[in-house]
Assembly symmetry: D2
Homo-oligomer: 310 residues x 4
């Protein structure tokens, strides 16, 4: 089985775009593995480091890629089946960084208040779950691994791996997890897939700016849907159709997500748009995936059980 490993440090991908050479090639139907470094490049291994010694902004969130998918061409949709995520390390890391987070001043929501102080935690990963912190007496957190970052090369732009968008990217949506299928747009031959930012667990909104950050080895297969474009990332499992919108302010992210979900349901399931808009008002579920990145991400979910007659 092909196992795609993170490239050497000077070739790690900190942007998604059409300007890098593929580091590997995969074919539709093939099962393959991809390993990823954690969001800090695996450099935080102790709570006793100084953040500025291990993190050099914006060189965070390194992705493994681009991966060339045989047969994918502009205008197609790349289908990524996430089969498994394993965690090749016995701890996760998380930080509070100055000027980053959901309930503090940031480089985008600028305030004159003093920045928050840096905090670094190491979280042991045990068979019982993630141990939050030895100084805080709480139950272990269940391990529910997913990829914070997955995307394809945009048409012309090279977009930071810290940013989510119509191409995917750093959405921090816990629905990008084993068992789920992700649909991404294709703008270039080979689609140019990137993966990174493994999370062992994350709360909705990722409110302080970090999850339980981990390196991963994931198992995948891909397909290509020819001639069908995907306007914004979509996810599907047995339970839900899901559309992800990324924008600021947060309501614009939600508008993109719902607009696409309504489009999906009307184009492929035969509903008229106003009916399904009204129906979503009664049955949809919404996840706030992140409220910390350059754009916020919202997942609008339609329960598939309503697609079948009772």
């Amino acid at each position: 089985m092909l196992h795609i490993k993170p490239p050497s440090i000077e070739k790690l991908a900190y942007v998604m775009g059409p300007y890098q050479d593929p580091i590997a090639r995969v074919s539709p139907g093939e099962t393959f593995q991809v390993s990823t470094k954690d969001a800090y490049g695996d450099r935080i291994v102790s709570a006793n480091v100084r953040l500025e010694d291990v993190i050099q902004m914006p060189f965070v969130n390194p992705c493994t890629g681009p991966i060339f998918v045989e047969g994918a061409e502009a205008g197609d949709t790349l289908v990524v089946h996430i089969k498994d995520i394993s965690i090749p390390r016995d701890f996760g890391a998380s930080i509070i960084a100055p000027n980053f987070g959901g309930v503090c001043g940031t480089v985008w929501t600028r305030v004159l208040n003093e920045p928050l102080e840096t905090r670094i935690l190491i979280h042991p990963i045990t068979p019982d779950g993630v141990i939050y912190d030895e100084n805080l007496d709480i139950s272990p957190i269940p391990i529910e691994p997913f990829y914070g970052t997955i995307g394809t090369a945009p048409l012309m732009e090279a977009i930071s791996t810290l940013s989510p968008g119509f191409h995917g990217g750093n959405m921090d949506a816990a629905d990008i997890c084993p068992g789920n299928t992700v649909y991404l747009p294709v703008h270039h031959p080979g689609a140019l897939l990137y993966l990174g930012d493994g999370h062992a667990a994350q709360g909705d909104a990722e409110v302080c700016g970090s999850a339980i950050e981990i390196p991963t080895t994931g198992t995948f297969s891909v397909e290509v849907i020819k001639g069908r474009a995907t306007p914004t990332p979509r996810v599907e499992n047995d339970e839900y159709l899901m559309s992800i919108g990324s924008a600021r302010p947060m309501e614009d992210a939600a508008r993109i997500a719902f607009y696409d979900l309504i489009t999906w349901l009307s184009e492929e399931y035969g509903f008229d748009r106003m009916s399904v808009y009204q129906l979503c008002s009664h049955v949809a579920r919404v996840r706030v995936a992140n409220m910390v990145d350059t754009l916020y991400s919202i997942v609008a979910k339609f329960p598939k059980r309503y697609l079948l007659k009772s």
Copy 2:
């Protein structure tokens, strides 16, 4: 058992404030019932009405209240236990109204595009659940009734029952449901409680602007926590501590909700603020309650299981 019914039409409450006389009085510990009209004043009983004949903006979302709670004084917290909600009608109603909703131009997000067309649906309520629409062949929607609107009189303002805020109001949060306890601020003797806007079912975000709208008869008891203020509405059940923020843009609603949740956990459960901020980033859940009202409402939830040592 005291049963508080909606007042006559000219006394229905379309604002929450200190300028109306109480319509009833209840005592802490007493079990009592409150009936409410639906958001349209029970005037939509058929899909074949013209909206302008039955709805005269802003005279929508009439509430039952104010209810005077004996012993409540400024600076206290009103505790409302919702014991049960019954639905005294065999149908719900929902509409798409021009210039109202989450994925369209509105009176606040003004656009030059033509408004959406009005749509009115009647949804039969059956033992199997809510029947969406005879023209749309989907499974019944489970009945999960809750109050879209609950609040106390603000200090000086009289606020439309269409608006949520620090006083509660039209939050459209499905967590205001039987089994849950709601904490509200008290600014006046008697607290002056208002209730309305029953929903038989609602999707997260209430994206088209209406739920399955119903009249209700609810069963309640109240308590007063003396000398403790509640900065923004809180909800609690066996599973979660929940804080509700209402603001625009949506990220500000989420900030208020998380800020209060962090405050609650630090003040009453002994966490330091930065620890619980970081912990929320790993375990919190978030509900987008509404993205359609004058302010959007977000519920930030902390799972109580983490409060107990494993």
Copy 3:
């Protein structure tokens, strides 16, 4: 000449609404004077006070009113001509208050960062202009007095005098100044006009949250336009037609302002809407009036010179 003075302290208006009795009556065409206290109730007379000793939130921004305008009825427009503003004090005051301002955390944009420290300045008003501060060696600021707050009673709500909105209120727009005419909606017999929050000078956006705050004595006359509603405050002088939108986020305030300006130009000057939308893109001027209040206020301005053939 009628001179309406601020009522006694217990009757100062901290909300605009239909729940207070008029303190005076004026007739269309009559010239009259209104005196107002400053935003701090004239209680900050030295930089050496503790803010909590002189300000008790939310009892700030007291207005003089409501003033009953003879002949005004629901559905009319109240026209206010501001003829003059004199300043009956030889200093202005300004503060930075914790959790209030445009570049800091606030009660709406909640952050975990420490609040800014309180600052109080007294600004001598001299024939040369406003002296900023003896410790800061800058030129005097020209005196350009205006009313930060002007509005009429909303239909049902009582709205804090700290809030702007469709009824006017705390817009902090420097265009509410001598020589200009203000158009406000009428929802009740007598219109119920409120005035307050005099500013000797203010920057666009009022970014720290306060202007050079002053008491005033203003000279006014009013008119009533029968049977014409005004959807959001409008201002006019020889140079501009101006519409004011108040909302959050700020782009929604701008959308309301431009939507109304386009409506005004199409309804009263015969333009088709798309033409004037496009024309505004080439000639409009915009003032950010405030980015600190409960809602932000934007003034969209159309230069009247383009209404006349060259």
Copy 4:
């Protein structure tokens, strides 16, 4: 005098980034000319074209660049003096495009309402000014040419020329005009300067999404300030210090602009930060540059007259 012309069509720059080879080199102190195509690639020459025949999104707003500035290195500031802009065409063009603009649904603020209809206008440029439209009887618009788009290559990203940001880009700020000096960050050897999107005239906010769009020939000189970084674009003339923030929502753009203006005044003019924050609240001016692009742009301006003792 060096005259840098737009490259051949296949080399026009639709992104700003480090992935393109310079098309020309200039030295500090040298006076040189740059010609630019209009935002539509000079392809709209008549109102009788179909937009889809001449515009292929996202291939709009082509820039001339990158221009290599000798001596500029990462961490420096590029200083651009705009000496003159001439208009080598006797008309400007403007459009309303579906899903683009400030008072309509867009691809970011998604709505289910029908998109606005496309509109194309050709505006004769005459000695008397810009003639708006023969069907609309209004005075000519004064010609006040400026560059809608100016920027340097970001560190890692390639950003669409439709986007403004910390690197400059499509700010649509009328202050980027003859007589003014622009300061831009340098992330790469040679700075990699891009220029485009000439406007013969534009209203604040560019509310319908287009100005009077023109090709240009501009005259420039550049300087390099060694070892001083510029966090966000700055502009200076005799009257104002100006900082430009680009973000969504619009208040975040304003926060960035004011934060930088306060930083500038405190670092280079010796004010303490809180003093100048408060002072800006009394004397700053603000321009809403655009409310239509991927990020909105706000210019915060400090009048230099206050820097001199009276």
